[in-house]
């Protein structure tokens, strides 16, 4: 059997070799995708150190469970889900340690914004894509973790309501409600950032 050309091998080939216990192909997979996994952890946790720890934990878990990977999805999708689950576990632990915040109390009802009119928001107006990304990033950082998580999972991971409900251990109704208020709140923050920019 020909020796695997690790730098030029496809992800799938590397995974199959790593599933036999070879660590070198797994190291190559890590080098290829570590930024993506770290970025997902950071988008959910909003803390560089915690994101680093959780992303490394995801790679450790990935190795330990690699034999369970059935090749039904891409390796990066599988790894990202491991990372998301670790982030959710981490956030749940952190949430338990904190006292209830105003965000938590308002989470289901939407708080005051339920009764507020949403101003028109035109995202593409006068903005470059990179600028808009930065602004969205800043707005996402201001959301509560429940709102941010549901948006990340739906908008960036393209997960369906039922998948999100399963991951976040809540009902589909709660997902719909969280997503609704997360979007309205994000719009409100983006409008205020736009006003700050203009002034």
């Amino acid at each position: 059997m020909a020796k695997l050309d690790i730098p030029n091998a496809a992800d799938d080939e590397l995974v199959r070799s790593a599933q036999k216990g070879n660590m070198d192909p797994y190291e190559e997979l890590l080098h290829r995708h570590r930024d993506k996994i770290y970025a997902r952890a950071f988008s959910m946790l909003r803390n560089e150190e915690e994101a680093l720890d959780v992303s490394q934990g995801a790679w450790v878990k990935g190795w330990q469970r690699l034999k369970q990977f059935q090749h039904n999805s891409s390796f990066t999708t599988w790894m990202t889900r491991i990372c998301i689950n670790l982030c959710l576990d981490f956030l749940r632990k952190r949430q338990r340690q904190q006292t209830d915040s105003l965000d938590k109390m308002e989470e289901e009802t939407g708080g005051v914004e339920r009764w507020m009119e949403v101003e028109d928001y035109n995202p593409t107006e006068e903005m470059e894509r990179s600028e808009l990304r930065k602004e969205i990033d800043a707005a996402m950082a201001k959301l509560s973790y429940e709102h941010r998580t549901v948006l990340v999972l739906h908008e960036f991971e393209r997960m369906e309501y039922k998948e999100i409900a399963k991951s976040m251990q809540c009902s589909i109704g709660t997902v719909m409600s969280r997503l609704f208020y997360a979007r309205r709140r994000l719009a409100k923050i983006l409008i205020s950032l736009k006003k700050e920019r203009k002034s």
Binding site: Q56, Q68, R133, D137, E160, A187
Partner: protein, 196 residues
């Protein structure tokens, strides 16, 4: 507009509604100004998020990052290896967890009964019949594996020897060996479930 309809407008935009409900919400958006405005607002946010996320890049070097992951993998691997024998002999281990204390209790009870019988013998001696011999079956080693004493109860004050009226429970002592590999105290405390 009811909150339920607002959430359904959102679900309609996310393509999460069943066909029949989807048609009803589409009709509502066409004919209700508030519904139409809400759909436009939500669509604007969707469009904004379509630009994607700001990329986050790791500052650690590839080698350093991998070395940390590798170290964690190696640190956790021996635990995984130790799991296997326990998983194979899990039912035996569970049984022993109960059998050991029960067996020990039985042994202690038997010993206490035996001591009680020794304590009663002086009463016999006090009856003024020294040197009574209690005939016990021979041979000394019974088929049950219990080692019996001579069966002769000595007179008061005579030197006591280990075999006097004592049954030693060799079999039980071996069975209750706490340093045996099946001892729960020597088994790994917790094993992480590989499945979430």
């Amino acid at each position: 507009m009811k909150q339920e309809d607002r959430l359904k407008i959102q679900a309609w935009l996310d393509d999460e509604l069943a066909p029949k409900e989807s048609a009803r919400i589409a009709d509502l958006i066409d004919n209700d100004l508030e519904a139409k405005e809400l759909a436009e607002d939500l669509r604007a946010i969707q469009k904004a998020l379509d630009v994607g996320e700001k990329p986050a890049v790791l500052e650690d070097s590839r080698e350093f990052y991998w070395s940390q992951v590798e170290r964690q993998i190696e640190a956790e691997e021996p635990i995984t290896e130790n799991v296997q024998p326990e998983l194979v002999s899990g039912s035996l281990g569970n049984a022993l967890r109960w059998l050991i204390p029960v067996g020990s209790l039985a042994a202690i009870s038997a010993l206490m009964l035996n001591f009680n019988s020794i304590n009663t013998t002086p009463d016999l001696l006090e009856t003024g019949e020294p040197g009574i011999e209690i005939s016990l079956p021979s041979p000394v080693n019974s088929p049950s594996g219990l080692t019996e004493g001579s069966g002769t109860i000595p007179e008061e004050g005579s030197p006591t020897t280990p075999e006097v009226g004592v049954f030693s429970f060799e079999g039980t002592q071996n069975g209750g060996n706490l340093s045996s590999p099946e001892d729960p105290n020597t088994l790994p405390e917790s094993i992480e479930n590989p499945e979430r």
